[in-house]
Every structure is written in C-alpha cells, then in structure tokens.
Symmetry: C2
Subunit: 382 residues, 2 copies
Amino acid sequence: MREVAIVAAGMTRFGELWESSLRDLFAEAALEALGAAGVDRVDSLYVGCMSAGQFVGQEHLGPLMADQLGMAGVAATHVESACASGGVALRSAFIEVASGMSDLVLAAGVEKMTDGADVTAVLATAADQETEAYHGITFPGLYAMIARAHMQSKGTTEEDLAWVAVKSHRHGALNPKAQFRREVKLEEVLNSSMVADPLRLLHCSPVSDGAAAVLLCPLADAKKYTDRPVRIRASGLATSTMALADRKDPSFLDAVQLSAERAYRMAGVTPRDIQVAEVHDCFTIAEICCIEALGLVPTCSGRHAARSGETALGGRLPVNPSGGLKSKGHPVGATGIAQAIEIFEQLRGEAGARQVKDAHLGLTQNMGGSGASSVVHIFERA
Amino acid sequence: MREVAIVAAGMTRFGELWESSLRDLFAEAALEALGAAGVDRVDSLYVGCMSAGQFVGQEHLGPLMADQLGMAGVAATHVESACASGGVALRSAFIEVASGMSDLVLAAGVEKMTDGADVTAVLATAADQETEAYHGITFPGLYAMIARAHMQSKGTTEEDLAWVAVKSHRHGALNPKAQFRREVKLEEVLNSSMVADPLRLLHCSPVSDGAAAVLLCPLADAKKYTDRPVRIRASGLATSTMALADRKDPSFLDAVQLSAERAYRMAGVTPRDIQVAEVHDCFTIAEICCIEALGLVPTCSGRHAARSGETALGGRLPVNPSGGLKSKGHPVGATGIAQAIEIFEQLRGEAGARQVKDAHLGLTQNMGGSGASSVVHIFERA
C-alpha cells in the first residue's frame, strides 16, 4: 500500500444555514479544498452523507456533486454509514489512493438537515428498524439508556456529563466555524430542559447543515500541493450489533474499541502516543464512552476527564478542541471529515486559539447509530 | 495493485418477494456466496443499495448486514450510486482487495422495493431534484426523451425497441432466477399499454425485490476457495451531468463511453475482445444506447442488434444472456452484482441453457439515473 497524505481542506460554517442547499454546501467546502491545493480536477471523489434521500429528496450524490463542481466525468461515489458517513468517505478515499487506483482524491461529507424533514424520525432510520425504530425509540432515547447503564456500572453522575458540555462549549467558542460559539455554565447544563432522562438539551448535539472536504494524494506527491502535508497513518473500521439491546454491556462501545485497535495496530502506535483527538460526542455520554473505548483514559475514569481538565485545551490530552459535535454542530455526513480537518489544522499548527502545542500525532473517531459502526483514523505531521 | 478474483457468488430469485424483508434477502444471497467458498468470515463487506432509507425506513446498512450475517465486528460499508449501487459496491470491494487492505471481501447488492413506498417517486430522487424531479419528470419520462432523441438522430423505430424486449424475455425464460420467465411476442410488446411515449409497459424493467453477492480475494489466493476463479481485469467508473437536459446529445450516454474507455485501458483490451456482456437495460432504449456507447456495435447500428440476432444467444456477441433488467428483474441496488454473477457463471461454464460457448472475456455495465453514473467491469476466466 502507498503512503497517503492530506494536503488541503475546506469547510463551511456549521449551523442552520437556511440560505444554502445541499449542493451549495458541498461545493463551498470542496472548492475551498481544491483552491487551497491549486487544482481544479481530481481523479475521484467520495461523498459521505447519511440520507439526503430522506432529508431533501436527493439520492445519487456522486454524479450530482461531481457535476456541481464542473467535473462531470470524474469517478464519484457516495458512501453511507449513518453519522459515520464522513469518516467512511475518508477511509474509502484513503484506500483508493493507497491502492494506486487514483492519485488525487477528494473526500467530502455533507448534510442538509434543516429543510423541513422530521429530523428525529430520519435519524432513527440509523437504528435497527425492526427492533428499535419501529417501536418508537429515538437516538436521544438510545443514548439515555447508554448513559443510565454507564451511571449504574461506572458511577457516572449527571454532573460528570454536564462537564463534558461545559468543556465542549469552551472549545467551540474559539472555533469560527462552530454552530454555538458561546460558553455554557455548569448550572445551565444541569437546568436545561429534559430530552430523554438523564440527557438534557445541553447534552445533545444540535441539528445542523454543513459540509467539509479534504484532498488526498500519495505522500510522495504531497509537496506538489502543500509544504505541510499530514500523513494518514492508519484507518480502522468496525461494527457492532445494530440493536443496542443485543450488546452485553450497553455502556461499552465495542465497535469503537475494535476500530481503534485496528488503527493502532496499522499505525504501530498506542493510545499513549496520541496528543490530540476528535471523538464522536453526539451526546455528552458518548464522549465519555468513546475516550474509554479508545483507551485514551482508563475504563471507569472517563467520567472525570472533562471535570478535571485532563481533556480540555491545556490538559494532558485535549479531546474535541473543535468544540466537538456538541458545540461545533453535527451535520451528520460532514462530521467525520470535519474531525479530520480539525486534526489536520492542529498538526499543521494552524488551529489558532485552539492550538494544541507541538501536536505531532492525532486521532479521529466517528461513529454511526448507537455505535453500530465506528471508524478511527490516525494522523501524523509529515 | 494486486490482481483480484471472484471466487464465489450467491443470489436470490428476483421478483415481488412479499415474504422476504431487506435483511432476509441480503442474508440469503450473502450466505450462499460464503457457503460456496466454504468460509464464515470476511475481512470487510460492501452493501450496494440505492435507498433502503426511502423504501423501508432503514439506513446504516453496513453494520445491519454484518450483524445479520453473525459477523458484527467486521468492517462494513454501504455505497450508493442509484441503480449503479451494486456495480459501485463491486468496484469498492475490488479496490480494497487490490490495495492490500483486506484479503477476503464480500460485495453484495440488495433492494426491497415492494414494501409500500411510492416506487416511482423514490426512483426519481436519483434524478436532479432541483431541475428534474421537482418538476414531475419520472424515469420512464426521461428515458422516453432519450428514446425520442435516438429515433430522431439515428432512425430508431418502435419496432427496433420492441425487438430488445423480445430478445431479453427469450433469454430470461432460460434463467431460473428471473422475475419473468416467459417469452413475449413482438406484437405483445407493440400493443402493451403506453407508459411514456414511445415506451410501453414491455419496454420497462419491473419493480423487484432481490439481492446478489460475490466474494473477492487476491487472485493468488483464489484456488483456496474454488478451482474456477474469475479474474477482475478492470474497473472503470465515470459520471456525466446529473440533468439530462445538460447533455449535448441526450441519446449519447457519455458516462457509459468514458467508464468503458477507462476499463478497456486498464484491462488492455478492446470492445472486439468481449465475448459476452451484461448491460444496463432499465428500458429497451437503454440497451441500444449502451451497446453503442460501449463500442460493442458501431454508433447508429445499435437499433439493429436485437432484431438481427447479433446480440442474442447464439449471435456474434450475446448481450444480457441473463434476461437483463427487463426480464430478470431490477432490484436496483442488486443489479450490478447480479450482472457480475451472470458473467462469473458464463466464464466458469455454469450458465446452463444460457451458456455462451467458450466465453473467456466478459463485461458488465451498470448505470445510475439517466446515465449520470456508469461503472464497467471486465472479467476473464482465470
């Protein structure tokens, strides 16, 4: 396999972007990435998107987006893994470049969620239709059950969860692309309206529009496009049971652990080598479960990490310096690529007020559903 | 890149399979393929499906299907390119094996179309939502315009179109997996009810349920799983404008030509070397346009091919010996894989009454929408 690098990135602001359509969002992010590398053609492109079909009545996103970029003709593929669609698009692009099939590949993610669809119902189609969604459970409901299980088995408290939101918003306030650029106080989180006990409004990532794109090429060619490429050291993808009830311990995200193990093995690194991470905090409890499953903190100690400052900017291992899904926003198909962009900028020393000092090695973890799919990438300053 | 082979295949019957759900169909095809190779695990799997989200309210098909096979944990990815979703799933699996990332990869396609959704409206989401679908055009309407343009520029007649249906049904009558196992007479086609002038009912592929799966591995390992592997010599993917109106000549499928050029170049063969082909005849006119764009017959002579017997079993170059989408059925996400299975069986000499004598080199062409995406694979008896 060839070594692969990211050489450019582009991203829209995340938020309720009423004035932009699905294709507008994609084109804005993609053209920014292409412009940064000084190219107007690629060999192939991948579109990560969960469900433009249900959200805006549009399937067949590969040719649509190629056409929208003025590149009709180019190979183009849409990949979907619910909220991990962006991460899986990055993985597909990585494999295509690594294989030698293509030299310059765009990996982009997009979601347009605010066009009138019943968002909660559409998102529920990422759960098991027959055993979960059909019976009325929603994702806040599923993650509330994960939270309750975590509280019971590991002693996590509502205040532990709330500290994750406080940290995320503190980071997001520093991110010009974030949907919510404001800090929240612990009391605000604890007193926000209940969504699915014990998860309150400020434990939940928002409904968002947005797009993000990165440009990949063989590491050997990277200096043609940038003087600061970032190498993709590894890609790990794993699945778990679709239905939460089929897992031995609902508070343990086994697909996250397995995807991370595959990535650590491929990169030849350990969790202790990671200096900055973006993880999938669709709900505050998810960040706690993920950092445990990734091995970034010991099991049962995830609940202390935000409160103690360990995972805050300036702490031992900053997690979600971008503000995470919670504060930056979560246009589901775009999230995995946006995570990669945060690490790309961190490793290039371009993260401004959010910069993690001397970061050389970073990780992203993006997951779908209640953790039925998870994809981990490890990046290194080249 | 490593050489890649198909070593096993499995496929459901195509038809209105009321008693089988989306996951049932997938599992039946996948387990048949795994059983044929004598394995119960793979490294990775791909699911080609256009829109289970809209058809049956289920996204996140990668982990769902991995779980359904008892393989929760395995890497799994859903790819979509409208009616070319199966072909693109095969391409993705091919690239993953070629790259060295994985050794044993399942590429499967599935669609469950008869569960009550408004099928014509769902399929229309593969067209350009803003400039086509929103204004009420359907796929029969788009292909009717392609047919009219072909009639005007190349002299094609209603009878030419009807001969394609006669040939397809003659082939399909020999295929135990086909939805319509009966021949039709020219008069029946010409007198069938009008759908979108000049396309009548018997010019249109049906609404179908079904699934198909193939197992891929490095050619060097193929003899572990079968004594008759089939090598994938090439994969070409291309796009065109999303909207039919944006093309210079609506009767010329430029993405089909471009995807074929890429595949011929990769394989180092010419159209004259192809001995059997499965092409995307979602409507009779599509087969005529495709064999022209693939270079299998000269431009302007596609209209004669079915009538003259050139593309019939026993002719110079049998096209759609399976019965094609027209007679075999068209569960859209499964079609691209089912095409590959027909060629796999032809090259192994297992096609029974449909066998093309001494076939060594075969081709599949699968497309999405009105030809906005097209994927071509070339296969060789290994």
